[in-house]
Symmetry: C2
């Protein structure tokens, strides 16, 4: 059900002839009333035109939006003043079709950087898209498909909670799956909820929910220019705003949705065959814990090792030793798939049972640096020939 | 001629049954008199036992050494007290065979981390190795072969200069070619010279020579635990120590040898098909210039783009924008292969001629951040399926 699971939201995904393949490339998400809105966006210095526009609109409206238009095929990034006009034109056309104020429309795009969007084709398709808006399961999946690039399947998640007798729903869609890294990992996540949450607490809940989910994943250590997570809360489920305990339940549901989408994003990472959950404990501070977890999660040698199901634990040590975090090598303990891998600065000889564990869909790597009390966790995937082929253009 | 090009040095490479393949795995380099010695070593916290031993010996002798014993197949790293005894035993056996003081023997090893060396086989082979020491071209090549792991060919370089009528030679060997990255890039480089240089200036010249050569290359962004560059200067070419101008000529020759070896290391990077020279100018300071150059040079998306000969310049922008260096995106200029790629924050449409340029063996990427006056340069290679296959163990 994804973004249409919550009351008062409709969505669609159609083909606007941006992609040559005929696959959906235009997604619309609309609330039947103005919604509280919050977003987290790419920290890349070359961030997209659409990202800049959305940041400005959320500021101008103080966190209010009614619709999201997202296209896939080209990212409207490094397109200058012309690209800015394109984004405005698409937003304006969507506002007209949907009968909402222009500034309540958020615009996103994803795909190859530096090319102009085919604006007239997009504008022409918006009418068709508006007419196909629905709250059905099919419409939710179509919306998820409309933002896909190298994703092999649509990514959907939802969670519900009850507050003072009313059932509230949080649902979302996401796309990856290359250029996925730290600091607002991956392009385009949209979440809707019918819970009544004001823009302030909505933004706070979103930042909290992303910290160990969408901001703690990596496919290739490359921060996209268009990373966007937006949540819309239209309050259709109940009249009065959420109370303290209700807000906590909302935050938990939002976190669940972000975690589910984050997991799906990494699992569908370009060329990935398995997930690796890297957890670091015993670091001197949070910054160094994150540094160590990311160094292991982004290491090409660690990632190819897991692809090959090898027990070459020295590569984990190598990545830790080079990352800049302070620790005593003799106090480091590493467990892989639940089995001891490094202890007291020495490799532990791998047991036979370990190899079948390495073949599983998700392998946990638990690292204790033996120093302080700080911890961090990053979800990553293996590195395969397919990632190379996809990004060398040999598959497109 | 490599490490035997300079007068008074002999070398060899033999099979000590460390590698199952029967290929050379034991290298000896010997000076016929005690030589000034300097080294630069891995900064990895898990650095090798041999590295620790060499650092201690160079300190104890105040920069004096007569021989280097290097083995390939296993890195004596994360092997604890037993590994320390192994390194001492190998050094002691070499000292006995070569009739030099034990503390004048430097020991190195490279290969898989965390496994004990077959010490008795190595010790038994040292006599044979000592008897085969020679100053012939073949012996120089054998020495370079004895330290190879996934290298596809031996790496040799030399340079000469004349000071007060005497010809001095600097020659070296190196091995790579995975786990190659910043901060003393790659395992094992040995350089010999017959120039008379005291340990102090020798170390200073080595640090200067490595700054923009062996310390400015990357294959996979992974800092090895055993990176070692050692230079021995035995003064066999002339009596009096080098004068100021002579020292400058020596520094230039040493730099040439380091640059040639660095280039060979990256060109033979695991799976590499071409070199990419990333140069950053216009940065606010040297740290940010290096940060930007390394971010581009280590980007999986940039590296696969060059493998696929694609003009997807947005990936260069993405890597720059995420690296932490401060700049105004609208002032950034990038040229690839001599052709404009990014100008004024916009992608420049690639010309047809560019594509044949992308097929060449080395492609320059010149980035100007349009801010300050600092610059940096990093040599990298493309990322191919073969890198993945090598490191997933599917080729070994």
């Amino acid at each position: 059900m994804s973004v249409v699971a919550a009351k008062g939201f409709r969505a669609t995904g159609v083909w606007a002839a941006i992609k040559g393949s005929g696959k959906p490339d235009l997604t619309l998400i609309v609330s039947d009333r103005p919604a509280s809105a919050a977003g987290i966006f790419s920290a890349n210095r070359f961030r997209g035109t659409d990202v800049e526009l959305d940041v400005a609109r959320l500021r101008a409206t103080r966190g209010r939006a009614s619709a999201i238009v997202a296209t896939s095929g080209y990212a409207n990034t490094m397109t200058g003043a012309a690209g800015r006009r394109d984004a405005l034109a698409i937003g304006r056309a969507a506002a007209r079709c949907l009968h909402v104020p222009e500034r309540e429309v958020l615009v996103s795009s994803t795909g190859a950087i530096g090319f102009r969007l085919p604006v007239s084709r997009i504008v022409r398709s918006l009418g068709k898209a508006a007419r196909s808006l629905a709250a059905t399961k099919e419409a939710g999946v179509a919306a998820a498909r409309g933002i896909m690039t190298t994703d092999t399947h649509p990514k959907l998640a939802e969670a519900t909670f009850t507050d003072r007798g009313a059932v509230c729903t949080v649902g979302g869609i996401a796309k990856g799956v290359g250029m996925v890294a730290p600091h607002m990992a991956t392009v385009l996540v949209y979440i809707t909820t019918d819970a009544p949450v004001a823009p302030g607490p909505l933004h706070k809940s979103l930042v909290a929910a992303c910290g160990d989910t969408l901001n703690a994943i990596t496919v290739d250590g490359q921060m996209s220019t268009n990373d966007t997570v937006i949540v819309l809360a239209n309050g259709a489920a109940m009249r009065r705003p959420l109370s303290g305990p209700g807000l906590a339940k909302f935050a938990a549901a939002l976190h669940d949705v972000c975690a589910a989408l984050a997991r799906q994003l990494v699992a569908d990472g370009e060329g990935a065959t398995r997930l690796i959950r890297v957890t670091v404990t015993g670091a001197l501070n949070a910054r160094e814990a994150a540094l160590a977890a990311r160094a292991v999660a982004d290491s090409a040698l660690v990632k190819t090792m897991f692809y090959g199901r090898q027990a070459n634990w020295g590569r984990i040590a190598q990545a830790l030793g080079a990352c800049g975090a302070r620790f005593d090598p003799l106090r480091v303990t590493v467990r892989v798939g639940g089995y001891p891998a490094i202890r007291g600065g020495l490799l532990v000889k791998p047991r036979f049972e370990l190899y079948s564990r390495l073949a599983e869909a998700e392998v946990p790597v638990a690292i204790d640096l033996g120093g302080g009390r700080a911890r961090a966790s990053v979800l990553t995937c293996d590195l395969t020939e397919r990632y190379v082929r996809i990004n060398a253009g040999y598959l497109s």
